[in-house]
Symmetry: C2
Subunit: 580 residues, 2 copies
């Protein structure tokens, strides 16, 4: 808001100039006193001017809210747009009708692939959308030293973008070990954010007694909370806790057990990873709010978590409430109960969604520097051959519905050259193929419990470095699968008998596509069905979601990267063979 | 906190280096979950490192709190140090034992006298004290155009200091008329603070329907709230409301009627104007807390108002809670009830007060540029002669215990030259003598209900421009009184029969002194007694406090400045005579 805007807003608020818009006949949520009052709201230049009274005789346009509840637009305090496979413009199109008007997005995935170019693309591609997209600069690129990512970012890189007004601070500081060890490189990143007076997002998974050291660094919040005890311990140390409910993680109900009327103001809402299908069928932050209400939380308190609390945590003093001088981001709601529906959505005073319909033309931004990014060397079939010195092996055993694996053991079949071949068991090969620098790195392990029989599935979405991950029992099919991803510039693929059965293109950094969200949801459902029906992947497993977490070495117990098989307990690489 | 400090703090929090201090056996206030827990607290480099556990084997020093309650140090969210007549160092000495460890001070008085030099002196004189003194840049210098102050400050002056880390923003924006009129000069000042992302303090006295326009400017808080309705209206618009209880204003109990568990987080505590006697005999912010508890507020909620809520409002994320990474400003309390006593006070981990005793050597800073400031021209007796064209006059009638006056009427006695002379009634002359620029300005009016008979009292503390104000019935005594103030470089004086009966020196800008607080309190009590006993000033009137508000033209109904008699209802100057 510059001086002229302020001047005009005051003129409107003083009744000396007409408002642009007046919403009448509504039940207004006051998130500060935590009460509802009846009245009208005046808007000018995209901002709230006031609640009327003798001073507001005129507005160019009046909208009768018919007694609907008017709440501030919802804020998602932590998410990765990339996880939806949608471009920012499409993300806006899907979440705005759910009432989400501001997101704090950590472009961790695309920055792991494209470095600072990834951040710049996300800034550009999200500019001017109805959805306000703020970014956190990813703090851990690469996420671990045990894999090759597309970039290695230091404090200097962070400093180059930290002053951007749309960069709120440092993204989830998942290297809590580095923080607690006071590693210089980690502390340097923290100091960049602290000196710029920006917000540092947390991601703490360790033992509670390490939390003191972690919070010394001034971590503002944490979304990696699983229990009431975890929640209260973080709040005690001054962190905000995010009640997470997305497609992947469902923590909200567990966490609510630790929330009461006294600490609710320290709670925020987030989805973290949310797919298009979830947004279309279940909702976004509105779903978190409905669930909290259904669990007994005062509706105004639940909505405050998704509005003013988030604005306070992130220093977004221009939003989060229906109050004079703030951005006119608001929703009209059918009710304040567990069946609450988002009727209409306004951002900066503009009507952007009605009855779940997006009212804005979607803009498309060229991916340019972040297009493709499939720099893979030497992936012919023979490179997927697994030569072993023993038939007693470690396997990565899938635990359905979880991103954790169990380290299991098996006796497998080797040919006369020591080459692994599929026998009748439920074990296939899993490979991570480095795709950023053409190193030719391929890590190979054995995956148990996937169900795949004959063929291969592959994807270029594989946390956190997003190399290509491919599972299969045919070296040729694995080659074809990787080749198809190279051709597409990234995506998902199902191959059988040397032929591509189905594929999905993720042309933006191999992570996202600019197709409409409905199409993305439909394509994803279709390729999942194909993978299950044609390749036999178990029904209780999401073929691609399961794969994409198999490469995350910081999650127990055993994972695979382009550098090999990683055992978290040993915190190092291990051979596939057990007895060497 | 720089990187090395952070590194050391994490080392301590991780048990790899000893803490400086461990407080054991205490009941720790968690202002986030709003609960008390038993434990120990470790401190290093003046900051909290954590709560112990298996990781904290060592501390250089251990203090047994004997089960006392440990709370964050108290924050006074709005005050004027000058109102105490104490230097910042002496202010610290008096309020630290009360548990106040941080103050947000608006140096409105000294800046009205000395301009930016006044701010710079306050910064320098408050540097390195046990008390953390943050300043707000006074927004209204002069307070009105109807008087001559020592400086006229514009947005450019504000911009010259706004980036100082100890300047939190813009001081009380008392020109609410200017804001609501969208005056350019006022908006320019607001934009300086907004662009620097600093806090703008409010001061709104107008009708509630003007509050929308006022809050459009992003005013963060207001301390000029008198009723529950006022409080809720401000909170609804996103302002924090300060529960004020000092020597002069007593709003806390009235305001608590509008506070409930839902909006308490939007309330802060302040004293505004507090004299040494009050601090010594009643207390400071600890008194606000005791009063709130006695009125039924949950003790942890009351303490939160004076700690974390204030830290949140002012963006002081380094304090306000007992949590790792924050400044170790804390108090040990005897209890959490209405008889709560402050036993010990620590700031930045140092023990600074115990059993009401200050443990730190008081530093004295030379006033230099702000010394004296008595630039008065032509104040000989004849200039106090009041020549009138009519014996029917307006008088300023004192309303005991209030800063408001009534406009009253009287018939007075004039000599053959039309010169006013005292008759048997309770009317004396009151004059404001310009002291900043040697203009020779003297405004003269008539004061009713003061009780003074024979003599004069004068002070250089006279809101808001702090010219000299003198009341008396003898022109010679008025001259002697002003002359004595010139000699002292400011202060208070009582004169009778041409002789100074008693005086108090305020050598710092004519507002403050560097004498110990106990001496200041004793001297003030003594000169008040002398004024009452020797000059007959009524017992229900504080002679100097009453005088110092007689020059504030924005307060009803009629006031006097160096430019003349001001009628607030007419918003202009009026003659003393009624019928001309």
């Amino acid at each position: 808001m510059d001086k002229n805007q302020l001047k005009h807003l005051i003129e409107v608020a003083s009744g000396r100039a007409p408002a642009d818009l007046c919403i009448t006949n509504c039940n207004i949520l006051d998130v500060f006193n935590k009460e509802v009052f009846q009245g009208e709201v005046y808007i000018a230049d995209g901002m709230f001017a006031g609640f009327g009274g003798p001073f507001f005789p005129e507005a160019y346009k009046t909208v009768d809210a018919n007694g609907a509840y008017m709440a501030p637009g919802f804020i998602d305090s932590h998410l990765h747009i990339e996880s939806s496979h949608l471009s920012p413009a499409e993300y806006s199109r899907l979440v705005i009708p759910c009432g989400t008007t501001t997101v704090v997005a950590d472009p961790h995935e695309i920055v792991n692939v494209c470095g600072v170019d990834g951040l710049d693309y996300m800034l550009k591609a999200s500019e001017g959308l109805p959805l306000s997209v703020f970014l956190q600069f990813p703090s851990c690129v690469p996420a671990t030293p045990f894999e090759n990512a597309g970039a290695k970012l230091t404090a200097t890189d962070i400093a180059s973008r930290i002053d951007n007004p749309r960069v709120l601070g440092l993204g989830e500081l998942m290297d809590f070990v580095g923080v607690c060890n006071a590693d210089d490189a980690v502390l340097e990143k923290i100091m960049v954010a602290k000196n710029a007076k920006k917000v540092i997002d947390g991601h703490y998974l360790g033992l509670l007694h390490g939390l003191d050291a972690y919070s010394c660094a001034g971590i503002a919040n944490d979304h990696e909370c699983a229990t009431a005890e975890d929640l209260r311990a973080r709040i005690r140390r001054g962190m905000y806790v995010l009640l997470r409910q997305g497609t992947v993680c469902h923590d909200l109900l567990n966490l609510l057990e630790g929330v009461d009327s006294k600490n609710a103001e320290r709670c925020l809402m987030c989805t973290d990873d949310c797919q298009a299908k979830t947004m279309l069928e279940i909702g976004h932050i509105d779903n978190n709010i409905r669930m909290a209400i259904a669990a007994g939380v005062d509706p105004i308190v639940a909505i405050s978590m998704a509005t003013i609390n988030a604005a306070t945590c992130f220093g977004l003093s221009d939003r989060g409430a229906i109050a004079p001088g703030r951005r006119a981001d608001f929703v009209l709601l059918s009710s304040l109960d567990k069946d609450m529906k988002v009727l209409d959505v306004y951002t900066a005073g503009s009507h952007v969604a009605s009855s779940k319909k997006y009212l804005v033309q979607t803009q498309h931004v060229s991916p340019e520097n972040v297009s493709g990014k499939m720099n893979i060397k030497d992936y012919e079939a023979k490179r997927f051959a697994l030569k072993l010195k023993s038939e007693n092996v470690r396997t990565m055993k899938i635990l359905p519905g979880s991103v954790v694996t169990a380290m299991s053991q098996a006796k497998v079949q080797l040919d006369e050259n020591g080459i692994w071949h599929r026998n009748g068991d439920d074990i296939v090969k899993i490979s991570v193929v480095e795709r950023h620098h053409g190193t030719g790195n391929i890590g190979i392990g054995l995956l148990e419990g996937f169900g795949l029989k004959g063929g291969a599935v592959a994807t270029s979405v594989a946390h956190d470095s997003h190399n290509v991950i491919v599972a299969g029992d045919s070296d040729k099919d694995m080659e074809v699968a990787v080749g198809e991803l190279v051709r597409l510039g990234g995506g998902m693929v199902v191959v059988k008998d040397g032929k591509v059965l189905e594929s999905v293109q993720h042309e933006i950094a191999g992570l996202m596509t600019d197709l409409p969200g409905e199409v993305v949801a439909q394509k994803l459902a279709s390729i999942q069905k194909t993978a299950r029906e044609k390749l036999g992947i178990h029904d209780d497993i999401d073929p691609f979601m399961t794969l994409c977490f198999m490469s995350l070495p910081v999650i127990p117990e055993i994972k695979i990267t382009d550098m090999g098989l990683f055992d978290l307990a040993k915190f190092g690489f291990v051979p596939v063979e057990l007895d060497i």
